[in-house]
């Protein structure tokens, strides 16, 4: 059976595109296909990943210009049809700017660009991106961002909670959601959210940087495994 294609979008300024390509290629049955921002063709991909980086130099606001690139018009359409779209870090920022996810990411509470290992916990393991995790798992996954402080009006937060759309939260090493474990000031320690339909996930931590033993953590792999199980099986 031919490999299922996973599209990795490359914006000018993306810098985790090749890490993501490498992570995708390390799984059986799927193959990455790179999609340049100026294209309109998703090349038969069954899932799309928007990688981390500084698309368009983060000019104006992180993700704001990438959101209007030609490929994003197709990605938005693809997401609206119910196909899986995963946004990592800058990719999460692009998803918020494009309205596929609700809320916004502002500058980190402590003014710093943060590049460190964090603990996160999957708090909804019933999504197509997380069903290979178990409730209670505490993951070690790195973050690298200056604008990861998740904000949304209180009615949006309530709605996210009511519909189990908060998927990852920053925790301490025991899995407790505490303010000290919150690296960037995100409301409710939110590290990742999903849309109501359950096919668009955005998160600030980098699972592709935790998918290779040499890099010190394999905790990102179940996220990709969940997604691939879904697309290969469907």
């Amino acid at each position: 059976m031919a490999d299922v294609l996973v599209g990795v979008v490359v914006f000018p300024g993306s810098n985790c595109d090749h890490d993501t390509e490498y992570a995708v290629a390390s799984f059986d049955g799927v193959r990455p296909v790179m999609l340049w921002h100026n294209e309109h063709d998703l090349k038969g991909a069954r899932a799309i990943i928007l990688p981390g980086g500084f698309s368009y130099g983060d000019y104006l606001r992180a993700g704001s210009i990438a959101r209007f690139s030609p490929i994003m018009q197709e990605v938005i359409e693809f997401a609206r049809k119910g196909f899986p779209v995963l946004g990592i870090c800058n990719g999460f920022q692009v998803l918020l700017e494009s309205g596929l996810l609700e809320g916004a990411l502002s500058r980190n509470r402590d003014k710093k660009f943060l590049c460190c290992q964090t603990n996160i916990r999957p708090v909804n393991c019933a999504t197509i991106f997380t069903d290979q995790y178990n409730e209670g798992d505490v993951l070690s996954i790195p973050i690298a961002h200056g604008e990861g402080n998740y904000f949304a009006p209180s009615e949006v937060i309530e709605s996210l909670e009511d519909h189990d759309q908060i998927v990852f939260k920053y925790t301490d090493s025991l899995g407790e959601v505490t303010d000290e474990a919150n690296p960037n000031g995100s409301l409710k320690n939110i590290a990742g959210i999903i849309n109501r339909q359950g096919n668009v996930l955005g998160l600030m931590p980098h699972p592709e940087r935790a998918s290779e033993k040499l890099l010190g953590s394999l905790d990102g792999r179940p996220l990709f495994e969940s997604l691939y199980k879904h697309i290969v099986g469907s």
């Binding site: 704001s64 918020l96 700017e97 502002s106 402590d110 402080n149 904000f151």
Partner: protein, 83 residues
Amino acid sequence: MPYTAKIKVTLRQSILDVQGKAVEHALKNLGYGTVESARIGKYIEVTINEQDLLQAERIANEISQKLLSNPVMENYSFELEHL
């Protein structure tokens, strides 16, 4: 005659402005004891080649909402100047 839209984008009051905080602290450190706060926004000038003021106003509003500001965390205002 075209118009210049002078657009200001500011963070909503409910959003922590860490850049503004850093500047505020720097000003206080410089000895400006009466400085109470500083907030940082963006100023954008856009030249719009429209003859009609209402049309220029419509475009300035539309681009501010669509791209130049993020309504979740920012407000915008603008003035139009006839060139």
